[in-house]
Symmetry: C2
Subunit: 263 residues, 2 copies
Amino acid sequence: MTDTTIDRADADSLAPAVTRAALILDVMAESGAEPVGPSELARRLGLPKSSIANICGALADAGLVRRIGTGFALGRRIAELGGAYLASIDQVQEFYDLARRLPAGSEETVQLAILDGVEVTYLARHDGRQPVRLSSGIGRRLPAFSTATGKAALASLPTDELDRRLEGVTRLPQATPHAHASVDDLRRDLARIRDRGYAIDDEETMEGVVCYGVMIPSRQPGEGPCAASITLLKVRATDARVSVLLDDLEQLRAGLSDPLRRS
Amino acid sequence: MTDTTIDRADADSLAPAVTRAALILDVMAESGAEPVGPSELARRLGLPKSSIANICGALADAGLVRRIGTGFALGRRIAELGGAYLASIDQVQEFYDLARRLPAGSEETVQLAILDGVEVTYLARHDGRQPVRLSSGIGRRLPAFSTATGKAALASLPTDELDRRLEGVTRLPQATPHAHASVDDLRRDLARIRDRGYAIDDEETMEGVVCYGVMIPSRQPGEGPCAASITLLKVRATDARVSVLLDDLEQLRAGLSDPLRRS
DNA sequence: GCCGTCCGTTCAGTATGCTGGACGGGAAGG
DNA sequence: CCTTCCCGTCCAGCATACTGAACGGACGGC
């Protein structure tokens, strides 16, 4: 869990230094604020210490990492580039506008995520009034199997594409006992989702928290489908409340699917 | 403005490919969602086309950029890394908690930024009830001269450090006619801020919008000072309202300065 | 206080990634 | 339809970025 074990696919890249730099950034992302030195990076990646030091120096000059004493951690410019990526996706901007205007949903936690393989990356979040202390922030990756966004997106895939993605998957990570234990369970859930039109995460991600998600077709070429979700405490999820929240989700889907294009 | 003009400091880096990769990412950040091809990158950076293509290939394999047809744009993993950077700064997490609990401020737009040279980068934002359609999102960079956060942070610098940063600066970018026109104006404002204890951006960033900012010492080693601000429409900025908002800012400052450390 | 260990940095030789030119495909214009 | 231009990709020779070992310093333990 803690080790990125070995170098997966340092495979003959046409620009090895860049590939390695990306691996270094990944390690630093895992390490959080804790600075990582060249030696440790070299050990974890199985690469020469000198090369690592050179690459880290270049990354530091670029502002992508910062020196802390003699070690390194992610730098400010990473956040700036991340912001630029999010700003480039017009659905993100529209999401914020729309989420704020939802009659009921604006009170709750509303999220936008994009499917990538069998995981989802959260792109935007609207924090409502209700305090749901969920730790996942923007840029966070979670397994698609147990999240409303992930399941809504998976359910939208053509069956052959879905099969391809589930191919290598045997064991599903279970954050809570409510999460699906097997791929078969997941497939049955996906079928129900296709039928029903929306996905439910009933305490699968976190105890006491439920989540409703709908799929949103991505406008970005070369990107997977998106999904939006509304999260709330299970004790507050009365039938009446859920009903209006689902209406809001539908409204959100309509607004974000709308292929309006600025020239 | 649109061109990154030439290659500034391709200067003998110890890992040129990495330095170039960073420049490529910068160009893509400027280009937004518009894909950029190797030829255009080569032209804008003054670098060989083949090398660019190789580096872009490596970046794409790493997920840092994505292929759009035959061109490239920023990729999802950039956002993930940016999220990891933000998550690594504990002041960001605490900011969200505290901003939500501010008696008056929670209704308004509250932001957290960090000073970098003579610019600020926004690290976090709390959106209140009041719709202030300000475009600056997380990761956005703005000149420190005309923002409440930037001025609050600048005012906290030792004079020699301030002088060093203002050295090369001659002309200040003016987003609105209310922004400072000269460095001398700025210096006078900074003196008032030191006196007063907080900074005011009175329609300097956007017409009809005022902003109050306080400096927050950074806990991150090797990082500049931070600042928090509350933004609201000028028509709503009555003396009474501003007074309670300033109290909230003070509370925010106290909470974020507090050097509580988890082991 | 001494020594063993580990770290980050330096340096020269060499394998190797970078370069510039050539190739094939696509779109726009005549 | 043919031409022209421009783009992205491929390839071999050369310059150069990478490597591995050695160096000096900092800690921690025997």
